[in-house]
Amino acid sequence: MKNDNAFKYFSLATTWIWLIIFSFVPYGLVIFASLMSHDTNHLIRLPFTLQNYVELSEPIYIKIFIKSFYIAGISTLICLILGYPFAYTLARMKSRLKGLFILLVIIPFWTSSLIRSYSMIAILKAKGIINSLLLSLGIIHEPIPMIFNNTSVIIGLVYNLLPFMILPLMTNIERLDNRLIDAARDLGANRITTFRKIILPLTMPGMIAGCILVFLPAMTLFYIPDLLGGAKSILLGNLIQNQFLITQHWPLGSATSIVLAILLAVMILIYLQSKRNKKEQDLL
């Protein structure tokens, strides 16, 4: 019994120490830096100021925020549209191949996402696999420009982030009670109504979890717009990187990270809130 307790405290303590050292302390430092003034020689200096946050309300920064939300939003939507039917089929699959398919979804994670993005270049570029194939088959006579535009950025993001959508959706759909679907059918609902009234609401938590897992990294994976999009626009990830490394404006870079974190936290809170309301409704 005593041993059990020791183990409990030990594992709790490791988690907490881990969180404190690698999460709370760094975040505290970032918040602290975001409230300081900019200084060339010492990176940050007193006095405390809110100037950095005021600066972030300039139109150019708002534009960068909106553009990042837009690109991330579209990628999330595509991931959802592609991932939902896939996850549904996978979750309902009875075959022994199911394990293999899940493995196939996970395998890309074994390689660094940076390397996979470079391999996307090899596929999409002017002398890449697709263009060479189409040219040699005589289907096209000029290479199709598929890279260095918004489309290739979105292709890259969707490719990198799709598993984050599929996996939570799949676990959610697996738990779906078949009897509810049968009941709906017995009561005369057609396929579309069953999907809309039963399956969709019940898989909503999985969809939202997937969307959050895709949306957050989509905003900050700065190397994908750089590599696949030809670095033609600035997204939040690039903005923060430039503020730290090029202009050496650590306070502004910190403030940008904090604003991003707050926006994302608000989104998650809204989701949690809507879930809680739902539970109350269910009780009624």
Binding site: A126, F148, I234
Partner: protein
Amino acid sequence: MRALLISLILFFSTAALADENILNVYAWSGVIPDFIIQQFEKETGIKVNFSTYDSNETMYTKLRANPRAGYDIIEPSSYYIDRMRRQQMLEPLDKKQLSHYKNINSLFLKTHYDPEDKYSIPFIWGATGIAVNKSAFDPKTITRWSDLWKKIYLNQLMLLNDSREVFSVALITLGRSINETEPKQIKEAYQKLKELLPNVKLFNSDATISILIDEDATLGMAWNGDTFKASLENPHLTFIYPKDGFVIWVDTFAIPRNAPHQTNAYRFLNFMLRADVAKKIALDNNYPTANLAAQNLLPNSIKHNPIIYPSREVLKRGEFQRDMSDVALGVYEKYWEKLKMGS
């Protein structure tokens, strides 16, 4: 708990006591080949801890954030030497310990970034010009930066993904210095660049060589060393030193202030200055060397190649990038963001 504490103390103290015959080198990636480091270790018996970075900013930020990082040799570019010497981050060099110092090409000495050559050893250099693929465009029709604004190059150009390099193109075209710090002139350059934007296909600084080889871009800004390397694979490539001027940079070796192994650092510097060593490096990384003795040892096909070793006359049109205040850099960065966001 006590065992843990003791092992922790032991761990940190061995790290602190490890003051044997070592040298900590922090250099640009892709500049010093591994076999050169091994040759140095073999000849001197000094163990080298070799780490690399891919931008001056990364190196600078690391040393700023932790001045006792323990590096003995760093490799800043010219304008960072300017900044770091003014911020007293570098050791003055004792040239008496460098018997091969005379090998350096005098073109790269007595420069504004280190007027008395007190802190830096020029090592490799490069220039930013225009790379042209002959199978796509006639190189004779492109002689100056202003040619890039022609309507026929719609969605064709590659530009370096570097705010100051790109603004230099506009500043040169407007007849200004590439080291302009007046917000009004920088704004003018920004407006000029906005007119160039429809011609821009992509911005890239790290993969320019493969982009040029694979013809994903057939015209654009590039460094002479990169274009030379790409031209070895794709013979259609050529390089133009624009008539209206161009940016020139030098990567140098320096010893950071309070470096722990300075004696070894001098041995390393002198080793790198040797003509035979610098020649081997030049043959390996294909960047133009600032070591004249080494340049003379290179095969004719390289030392007379107009892409990497242009005539002195051409080189005179080059202008060194200078360091500027964070405020001025901030102005550039603001307009760079505006340019990319198309507002």
